[in-house]
Structure formats: C-alpha cells, structure tokens
Assembly symmetry: D2
Homo-oligomer: 254 residues x 4
C-alpha cells in the first residue's frame, strides 16, 4: 500500500520507522500539516533513524508526548554492506521503558542496538563518532602522505602505524591510500562507501551541537572546513577517504 | 669507565648507541670538535635512537660514510613501561646490509625492530606515527567532551566509539577521560606517560619535515599549535592526554 | 512608564526599538505569548538592534508582516565610547520603503546608518565584519608576538605593519600589545572594550550562518575555537584583544 | 662585465647587493667554494635583499664578520609596480653604524628604508608582515564570500568593512572580489601581483621561525596550509588574492 501522506501512514499502525535526509524533513514529516503526529494514536512507537540535530529529535519527542506517542531517535551506522548483511549499529535515545520494544524491531536490521540515554543521545553518539572518524581519516591521510613523501613505502608505513599508538579504524580497516587495504573505496577509485557530502553534513551537525553546548572542538571545526572545501572542489560524491587525494593532489595551472 | 668526550668513547669500540634530546645535540656529539666521527674507526656501526629531524640523520650519515662508518637512525616508541619490560619498538633507517647487525643489538631492548628503508626513514615513521597519535588524541578529547556535554555517559560513549569507526588507540587504550580506562595517566591526574612538551617537540619536527617535502598537513599544523598553547598554559609536564582537560577547562576570571 | 510586558509596550506606539542578548530573546519578546506582535498595530515600525542569527530576523519579519507591521534588523557597531558620543554605526536590513523612517530614528544615536538590503542583511554585515575583525585581531596578535620573540621592538614592528600590506584596524587603532597605542584596552590591562565572551557569541553566529549557506570559512572556524578556548580559560570578561596575552602566556605548572 | 662566480664579483668592489630565491642559494653564493666571502675585502658592505630564514642571515653575517665584512639583511616589499616607480620598502637588519651607508644605496630603489635592529630583524619584520597579510587576505575572502551568500552586494559589503573595525589593506586596497577595486589582480583574472607559490614560501619561513622561538601561531599555521593546498590545486601562479576563488569554487564532479 502506498499512502498519500505521513498522516495516512500513522492512522492504522502502532509502530513507525522513519529515515529522512535532514532536520527540516523530520520536522515536516512528523509535525507538518499532514504529518505523522496529526493522526498518531496513543501509545504509538516512533523510531527515527535519520541523522539530524539532537535538539530537533528532542523537540519532536516533546510534540509526540502531547499526543501520547513515544518518539525515539535511532540513527544508524555501518554503511551499505552492513545494511545488506543486517549488521548495522543503531544508537537509540529515548525512555528506558520503551527501549525493549524498539530493540525488538531494530534487531531485524542491526547487530548492535545500543541504548544511549534520553532522547537525542542517539544523535549525540552518532555525531561524536563521525566527528572523530573524520578527524582520524584526515589525520591518517596527512600521516600517510607525509610518510610517502619522506621515502616510506605505504604498506610498510600502514603496518607500523597499525602496531603503534597512531593506529585507528581509518589506518587499519579503511586506509585512504590506494592498494594498502584491498576492497575498500580507496582501492576502487573512491567509489561507494560514505560520500564526502554526507560526511560534511554530519560535521555541520557536530559543529551546531558543539556551539549549542559551548564545547571546544578545534579539530572538529577544522575538519568540517576541509570537507566543505572538498565538496566545493568536486569531491562531494567520492568516498570521504578521498581526503588523501585532495591533500596530495598536484593541480594543473588554473 | 666514564669517557671525557664522545671522541674518547669512539676510539676503542665498533658499535655505538646514542640517544640525545634534539637535532643540535646529535650534530655536536657526532660531528663536533671532539665528536664521535673525529675518532670513529672504519666499519663502526653508529645507532642513533634520538627523535630528530630526518634530514639531520641523513647529514650525519653522510659524514659518517666519509670515515667508513655506518650511521643508522633508530628512534624508539613505547614509553617507560615498554622500556622496563624490553618491549620497545625501534624504527630503523639505514643500509639493508647493516640492518641485521643493528637488529641483533636492538633485540635486547625491543620487541619490534622494523627496517623502514634508507637513513632518515626511521625518523619519518616515528614522526608520522606521533603526528597521527596527537591528532587522534585531541580528536578523541573533543568527541568525548562534546558527547558528555550532550548528555552521554563517558564509559558508554567510549564503548560506542570503540566498536565503531571512530575507534583509535587514544579512545581504546589510553582514553583521556578520567575513569574510562584504569591505569592510564588520565586516571592518575595525567602524571607519567608522554609529556605534552615532548609531544610538542615531535609535532614541530613533523611540521619541519612537512614543509621540506611540501606535504599538506592541516590537522598536523593545527594540533601542533594546540599543544604549543597547552605548553604555554602550564601543561608541558602533564601527559599529552591532558588535552581533554585543556579543552573543557572552565577558567577563573583573569 | 514601566510596562509589564512587551505586549503592553506595543499597544500604544507606532515605533519600537529593541536590543536583546540573543536569538531566543528576540523570538520570545516579539513572537511569545505576551510578545510585541500580539498587540502591535498595523503600520508599526519595529527596529531590532540585537545581534542575532539573520534567519531569526527573517522569521520575525515574516510574522510581523502578517500583522501589517514592518520589522527591520539594525545591529550596531562601535562600542561604548561611540554610543556615548552618538557616533555608532547601524547596519539596517529591511524594505527600501521603510528605511527613511528607520534612519530618522537611528540618526539620533548613530553617525553611519547604512541600508544593507532585505531583512537579515544588517545582521549579515555585522557578522561578516566581526568575523574579519576577530581574524585580524588574532592575526595581529600572532604577528606581534612572533616579531617580538625574533627581536623586534613592538612599536617599531607596529609602525612597519601599519605602513605595509599587513596593516589593519587591529594593528593601527587597537593594537593588542600593551603600550603600542595609548588609551586602548591593551594599555589598560584589557579592561573595557569588547569582551571576549561577546566576540565568541558573534563568531558562533557567523559559523551558524556559514553552515546554512555552505560558505567555506576555515579561519573563521579556527578563530571561533580560539576565542571559545579563551573563554574556557578565564578571558571571557577581558577585551578581545587579550588574544595577545593568551597566545604568549607562559603558564605555571598545573 | 659578467663575472664567472660570486668570488670574482667580490674581488674588486666594496659594496654588494644580492637578491636570491631562498636560504640555500644565499648560503651558497656567500659561503660556498667560489662564494663572495672567499674573496670579500675587509670593510665590504654586503646587502642581501632575499627573503630567507632570519637564522640564515645571522649565520652568514657571522661568517662575514670573520672576514671583516658587514652583512645586512634587507628584504623588500611593495611588488612590481613599486619597484618600477622606485617606491619599495626595505626592512634592514644589521649594525647601527652601517645603516647610513646601506640607506644611501637603498634610497635609489626605495622610499621607506627602515632600520629594524640587529641582523635578521629585517627578515623578521618581512615575515611578520606577510603572515598577517595572508591571514587578512584569507579572512577578507571568507567574510566577502559569506556576506555575498547571505545576500549582500560585494561593493556595499566592502564599503561597510572599510569604515568599520574589519577593515584591512586586503579589504580596502586589494580586495579579492572581482570588480570591487579596479586595477588589482582580482579584477584581472588574478594575473600579476604576488603569486600564491611565493606567499606559500614566505608562510613556510614564518612557521620555521615561529617553531624556533616557540611562538604560538594558530592562524599563521592554518593559512600556510590553506595556501599549500591552493598550490597543490593549481593556484601557484595566480595572485594570492585568488584565495577568494579557491574558497567559493564549485567544482565539477571528480
């Protein structure tokens, strides 16, 4: 059945999962004129797997509460392959008492279903992880590029980092230098994977959240600007590990 | 026996290991008036475990060559505990043909003795690792601080990062937030460990090396300045994971 | 007369000027339950001199329009002395046709009353100016500190900069080094002037605005984080030129 | 007369002016095998207008002293037009007692001949100015780009900045947005002017100098990396005000 509006969807069901591009769409689909909350029944469980501003999740949860419904944020990580294999991670924010019901649903799609705390903390966990991921990825790209220019073999350098204190997911599992790790986007012309434009969006959410709680994030701010520059220079559709290419690229005269 | 000069040391021996504070001392101890090279015999193996500018290692190696001696750079990583237990990592740069001899000596002190390539590449590997380490540590500090302010429990956040793509040595093994990992400096008032002033020195070497080979290192440059600021504000003697404290500190009015 | 609510203020008047701390207060005072817009008469001119998010000015202007009132943003720059002397600058955003009426009022307080364009552009101009100001001030602080450490006399260095391409308002009029320019905060223990906490707030607005229009602001992002760090370390109440002190401070061991 | 070596030049003269690309060339031309110092006569005045590392100027000055010659650093600023019109600025470092003699020569080429202090301080002044210039230029580019995206007219925004606290040489005299100031490189496709590659070189000198005196330069470090990235992406031969283009460029998919 295809519904003509979110309101129609909400009429006959007791559980809804949504996954939308950004904060504005979540506000519209839930709180808009023909939104879910206009018809949602008492006791409905609303699971939103969008990656959005934590404060928007909290705002929608408040609106849901006035209807007697429960809204939980449940952003996801793991990428396309994890989705296909049903091993995604869901970071869930919302009332303790509703978590078991949420988990029962999400278990069908994911392997790790983590209760992070009150509504919005799922988003917080996702945002923090992706900020650190972006920092590590650009850091790995810088370290690999520097080492190569100083005469080190890329595979050897990666193996040294990976047995030392510099090791991180980006150096071990998803190395940005082509040929170091087989099967990852860097070894496939940076196709597939997690796009630079999407990472830029998540880094923007992290900066907004950091501003709102007055958290100091010098590298988070720097890496947001680097990914923004990459998008401006045509890397938006490439995997975010293409930071390596961006940093070492030797351009033609413009 | 206590020698009165490096020259005196070099007179009667065929193998020398040195470990000095910085580039200037290495230049003086090897190439100075009463330096090792003034008396070193043909065939002497010179192993320098200082962390210095790779180009200085290369320069001293050239001087050694004119005396028929072999100079290899062999900086070390692993810290005080690894030194006590004899499990240090040595990153060695120098001629393939001399590596076995170097390894035989270094095996007494370390567990991983890695041949990185020509002279200077040991320094290069060390510098790249420590630059990535500093970036990851500040990144982890930012992510943990942001998450805590957004309402996440520190241990829960660390466990989420450590099973996700944000994981790194700094989040898993050496978490900068007190109480998350037992026995590390952050759980002991940031005493012991690897001092902020020493990390700042290594980051300066990384920036010099990056300038010389025209490598782009935006986060490496940023983190160097952050650690420099920390030294200026009294964190020089604290472990480098005290970046977490520096970022979230709520100062008194000045 | 003291009114008991913004609604009461709006009842009997045709012109209102407001100046509030931040976006939330503007939303509340205009759009809240007893807000100005609940009673504002048709044709009322609403001039808001707060420094807030341009998108909030636009949002309130839309609400005002439905009541037949005209809302214009008119943030101010110039500081305490300019206010006393009536030589403030007002950057005004709103309909061309209402500008003359706004100017007639603002002429009583300011010297430069500039029409910047549609509603929100007054904020935009203010935010852009203050972002560039903060960048120039920290840049001047860095250049002065570096030059002094390299052996230059501060006054001589300032005079060289001020006759060269490095000159800016911060180097000429408001030099952050004590003793270079008489009568400015740096020569009075950084008292008075424009507080670091207020500058940090404006830089946060700039970053939010930059995110919303996808503008690349690497130095704007960096300087926001620097001022955030300064606030965390007790400089919030000092003039924003105290960046010079923050950068060169040699802290006691912590 | 064309000499076959620097040594031959130095034989018959009492005053020498040099202007060379970088530190290595100055070391070679003065201190090399057939260098100026191999034949320079007692009392010769050596004026070096290269922009190099201040510590190299100091090193060559020491070598000159042992020959009884006086070496002064005298880097220049002002660009091609100023050179043609004889209105360059020379920043001179060296003994007070030799400054009058140096000035008499430099007066033929420049308008401002400034004695900065001991040898090396001419370089220091030049480096500090150019670091602040680069910071202001990128800052101006960011502010103009942000303002334009927020709906401001570029000329109006420039005029607001130029009568406010954000004003700087880059916003007033050399605005990076095409069409705002006539006759500057931005209005001529960023041709002519001061090349991005040359600015990058000077910023590298500033970072080396900052490292050596432990000066904190967060924006100086950031802007060096931005210009390095620009060189890597093909802007090396464009005027350094092309930072505006780099920041706002909307790239094609790569």
């Amino acid at each position: 059945m295809i519904a003509s509006s979110p309101a129609e969807v909400a009429q006959g069901v007791s559980k809804i999962i949504s996954m939308l591009p950004a904060s504005a769409e979540v506000q519209e689909v839930y709180g808009g004129k023909d939104g879910i909350l206009s018809t949602a029944q008492k006791g409905t469980l609303l699971l939103d797997s969008s990656t959005i501003d934590p404060s928007v999740s909290q705002e929608v949860a408040k609106q849901a509460e006035t209807k007697g419904a429960v809204f939980m944020d449940a952003p996801v990580s793991g990428g396309v392959n994890a989705a296909r294999d049903g091993v995604l991670t869901f970071m869930v924010g919302g009332p303790e008492g509703s978590f078991a019901e949420a988990k029962a649903i999400l278990d069908n799609m994911g392997k790790n279903i983590v209760h992070c705390g009150a509504v919005g903390t799922g988003q917080a966990a996702k945002i923090c992880n992706n900020m650190l991921l972006a920092i590590s990825m650009v850091g790995t790209s810088e370290a690999m590029n520097l080492g190569i220019r100083l005469g080190l073999d890329p595979k050897l350098l990666a193996s040294i980092l990976n047995t030392s204190s510099g090791r991180c997911w980006s150096s071990e599992v998803y190395n940005p230098v082509p040929g170091v790790v087989p099967g990852v986007p860097s070894s496939n012309d940076y196709k597939g994977g997690f796009g630079t434009a999407l990472m830029t969006k998540d880094l923007g959410l992290a900066q907004n959240a950091a501003s709102s709680v007055k958290a100091n994030t010098p590298l988070g701010a720097a890496v947001f600007q680097i990914y923004r520059t990459m998008v401006n220079h045509g890397f938006g559709g490439k995997d975010f590990s293409s930071a390596f290419v961006f940093l070492q690229e030797q351009g033609k005269a413009k």
